[in-house]
Amino acid sequence: MARFAVLVFPGTNCEGDVLHAIEAVTGQPAALVWHKEGSLDGFDAAVVPGGFAHGDYLRAGGLARFSPVMEPLIEMAESGRAVVGICNGFQILQEAGLLPGAMLRNVSLSYVCRDVRLRVEANSSPLTCGLAPGTTLRMPVGHAEGNFRADDDVLEALEADEQVIFRYCDDGGEASDAANPNGSRNNIAGVRNARGNVAALMPHPDRAYEEALGGVDGCRLFESLHRFTES
């Protein structure tokens, strides 16, 4: 059995979706953890869900890294357990220094909510360990700041080290400009850390876990996460 922590900051709004998706897909228990908690003892993995933590004031994720729960979260990452971010969770993990790069505003300068297609680039992460590279998945995005940036040398190292785990692609699997919803460099939709236990993506697997929602591809990511915690 694995226990999942789902972090809740003031302004987080996808905690219910993530909790429900984890329980529905993996059958494992998950619990909401308030940002003022100082411990994540007893949890095998943590998910930082989407929303607007601390109102996205300063910048997305910029204040959340000062919340008390970040200390045990960083310890968790250092211990090799799985730490995963979705959307605003991705931004928070970047701001906390657990993942590379930063997010700019979308090139459209607008929030964008729609289905995108993703190509799995590497299976060396908690979100992709059950997926074959080259697999394409469909799920929604919903963000205003998902435009992934990193310096040329950082980007080169990320690519060389296969730390890019998802890329936006078109129906044919091509990482084309037209398929890029926000202007991310190299169509990057998700990355992992060097060690391979911290990973995040901008799209929402927590909105694609039942046919009623228009797709079930998000299940594959939660299945991977479950598998990672058991390995």
């Binding site: 302004g11 109102g55 607008s110 929030y111 909105r207 009623a212």
Partner: protein
């Protein structure tokens, strides 16, 4: 108390000489300036409904499902499973014209507070928007600014915006409309009401600090604009959706227990309105001390504190002895919460400030005793609008061009540019996304789905207010039926011009009459709503624009009818009365001929009732692969809309129709009570039998499939538009116009 206010001050604040005299009579003395400000806000059209109250009483408001009708912060209907849907629509028109981003954003914030004030967790938003033509840069700024503001607030709150409408007409250039709808879910037996009882109970102010923003917003919203309108920017409130998210969570957490007697949100007229309304509903009084109100700025006087419309604040009436629970929960969410006074038994609103009594007014004088007018109404000389028929129009020669033009027109193009800026999937309950006739959210763990739609056609109402009112209700109910849902309750936002003009009052009373006829025929009660008068700038009035929000239930959300074509080979059927070729006030007239005249189609309410029953039965039996109501743009528009699904998939179709005379009416007529269905070939016979049983005419009009939209008339093909090109025109035109 300070000196008495003068008649000049009263007139300057929007009150009439007669009203000023009436205040003196109610108080037994002249009001002081603070009291005058309180009366000016509470007796404004916006707060008092003084021109509309007697007319609104005509709406049907009862049904076995209604838990809370008009009068509370929002209406509530029983949706089964022990749950209630709590919903309302409200306007934020005037603030949006002055400052589109904040004006529209705080419209969303305000309507959400109305919902969670009732103890309901908001689960869906919609909005209805009107702007002037996008050819003018100012209108593009208003449109994009308002959409961005709505997106910012709703997205940050984590509540999906799942539907709505936007239209463009010249008359909205100087007076855009922003109507925001919200719906929440509460246990049916735990609806909170805003009635102060039990004298001695502490009254708390929670949430944001009080500042000088929005002072006299209610009065501003109750007057016509002139060229100085933009100088009124300080009367627009500034929203903080993050704070409201925290306030919502804190309130809902507190409402889990029973520490609260009453909750009232602070919207228009701020502390004045919330204290006097909560007290007069409960037959009580309230005494508050403004020194205990957390303030954002120094040196605020009683007038400013009482009339501030700072956002994200709530008034709580707490059970004596339970204050610690309030403190604990608001501390958790890092929000200000302080007792500012208590409920009294004397019926007075007594306001203390810096050791003095700053105001002392009977609560009822501000609320129930507000004036109510029976303003004169007079039919305008242009009535009735002349009919427009194809014989009056030059005949189109290139139907490919006509269909392409309409598919990319401001009236009919996809609203993707708008709804993709709204988070419409957060909460992972959205089972019918925007872009269909109605949005649907499910309730996790239950089969239940809740469908909702927001509809109005100002052009129709302008040319025939009675028909327009009835057609707005009929279309909303038809939209719900098209997803398979049963309407259970309605809310409305009545956007009209200056009620002091008799022809405007005539439009208003006629529209209400039409809406009432349709609501009664379709057995849908009104549970609340909002009136926005004085939508007049520089003497120009908007089209009368009643907007109707109807909520429906789907007992089994998995049985919802899809909104887009499902499979090649499916057959197309047009359900509903023949002869729906009316072109008066149609989208085709407007977009192709540049005319907004003519008389809208005659409502056929019996046919609407039959069509609704037929669509729901077809949905429940799984006989409809997709359905679309016919409205603006008629059959051709319904076909175009059905081609492109929100997940990016697409299917072509061929429409085949017979037409003895001119084609415009057949393809683009807007006759009511009709829907386009796609059906698996094997189900066609059963569908025809069902239609016969329900008394709904059904005509075969083609099939789904191919890589184009094709239209064949009397056997010959007049339209063939490839899907790639049509998709670009339909899906991207509105964005191109907005960002030009």
């Amino acid at each position: 108390m300070r000196d008495a206010a003068t008649l000049e001050a009263a007139l300057a604040s929007g009150l009439s000489t007669e009203e000023f005299r009436q205040i003196g009579t109610l108080l037994g003395r002249p009001p002081n300036p603070t009291e005058l400000g309180m009366f000016s806000a509470m007796w404004s059209e916006h707060c008092s409904y003084k021109s509309s109250r007697r007319h609104l009483a005509r709406f049907p408001t009862e049904s076995p499902r209604v838990i809370e009708g008009p009068g509370e912060n929002a209406g509530a209907v029983d949706i089964g499973h022990g749950l209630a849907a709590v919903f309302k629509v409200e306007s934020h028109n005037h603030p949006t014209f002055i400052e589109p981003f904040q004006g529209a954003a705080t419209g969303v914030g305000g309507i959400l507070r109305d919902i969670f004030t009732m103890g309901a967790r908001p689960v869906a938003l919609m909005n209805s928007l009107r702007f002037g033509p996008l050819s003018l840069p100012k209108n593009r700024a208003l449109f994009t600014g308002a959409v961005a503001g709505i997106a910012n607030y709703g997205n940050s709150m984590g509540i999906p915006t799942i539907g709505g409408e936007v239209f463009f007409e010249d008359c909205y250039s100087l007076n855009p409309l922003v109507n925001a709808f919200a719906l929440g879910i509460a246990p049916a037996d735990r609806i909170f009401r805003a009635r102060a009882e039990a004298p001695g109970s502490p009254v708390w102010c929670v949430g944001s600090k009080t500042g000088r923003d929005g002072i006299h917003g209610a009065s501003m919203a109750s007057a016509a604009f002139d060229e100085e309108a933009e100088a009124k920017r300080p009367t627009v409130q500034v929203g903080d959706p993050f704070l409201e998210k925290l306030l919502m969570e804190a309130c809902l957490e507190l409402m889990q227990g029973d520490a609260l007697i009453a909750v009232q949100d602070m919207g228009a007229a701020g502390l004045t309105c919330s204290t006097s309304e909560v007290a007069s509903r409960g037959g009580a009084g309230v005494e508050i001390d403004l020194d205990h109100v957390a303030q954002r700025e120094t040196g605020m006087n009683a007038y400013e504190i009482m009339l501030s419309e700072s956002q994200e604040r709530m008034l709580l009436v707490v059970r004596s002895g339970r204050e610690a629970e309030v403190t604990r929960i608001f501390d958790k969410w890092d929000l200000d919460a302080a007792p500012i006074g208590s409920v009294s038994g004397d019926g007075l609103l007594r306001v203390r400030h810096q050791g003095q009594v700053a105001a002392e007014v009977p609560c009822r004088a501000l609320t129930d005793d507000a004036p109510a007018f029976d303003r004169p109404a007079a039919r305008p000389s242009w009535w009735p609008s002349p009919e427009v028929t194809p014989a009056d129009l030059p005949e189109p020669t290139d139907w490919n061009a006509v269909v392409r033009e309409l598919a990319g027109s401001p009236e009919l193009a996809s609203r993707r540019f708008v709804y993709e800026q709204y988070d419409h999937m957060v909460r992972s309950d959205t089972v019918v996304r925007p872009g269909g006739d109605a949005g649907v959210v499910r309730i996790k763990g239950k089969e239940l789905g809740i469908a909702m739609t927001l509809d109005g056609n100002g052009r129709y109402t302008a040319r025939d207010p009675r028909r327009g009112g009835a057609l707005a209700v009929a279309e909303a109910c038809r939209n719900l039926a098209a997803v398979g849902a049963t309407p259970v309750g309605a809310t409305n936002c009545l956007n009209f011009g200056n009620p002091e003009r008799p022809e405007i009052m005539w439009e208003f009373t006629e529209a209400i009459a039409g809406m009432t006829e349709a609501l009664e025929a379709l057995a849908v009660p009104i549970t609340g709503g909002n009136v926005s008068f004085y939508n007049e700038t520089e003497g120009q009035n908007i089209f009368p624009t009643p907007v109707v929000g109807v909520v429906g239930v789907l007992d089994d959300a998995t049985r919802r009818i899809a909104q887009h074509f499902a499979a090649a080979g499916d057959l197309l059927f047009l359900a509903g009365p023949e002869g729906g070729d009316a072109l008066g006030a149609s989208a085709f007239l407007k977009e192709h001929h540049g005319r907004t005249d003519g008389r809208p189609p005659k409502p056929d309410l019996d046919a609407e009732v039959r069509l609704g029953a037929f669509l729901r039965a077809a949905g429940a039996a799984g006989l409809a692969a997709s359905a679309r109501d016919l409205s603006e743009g008629g059959l051709a528009a319904a076909a175009v809309e059905s081609l492109f699904a929100p997940d990016g998939s697409r299917l072509g179709a061929e429409l085949q129709v017979e037409c003895a005379g001119r084609l415009e009416g057949t393809l683009l007529g807007e006759g009511p009570a009709r829907a386009l269905l796609s059906v698996r070939p094997g189900d066609a016979e059963a569908l025809a039998a069902l239609a016969a049983r329900e008394g709904v005419p059904l005509a075969a009009v083609g099939s789904v499939g191919g890589d184009a939209l094709r239209i064949r008339v009397n056997g010959s093909r007049i339209v063939s538009l490839d899907l790639d090109g049509l998709a670009d025109v339909f899906r991207n035109s509105l964005g191109r116009m907005a960002l030009a």
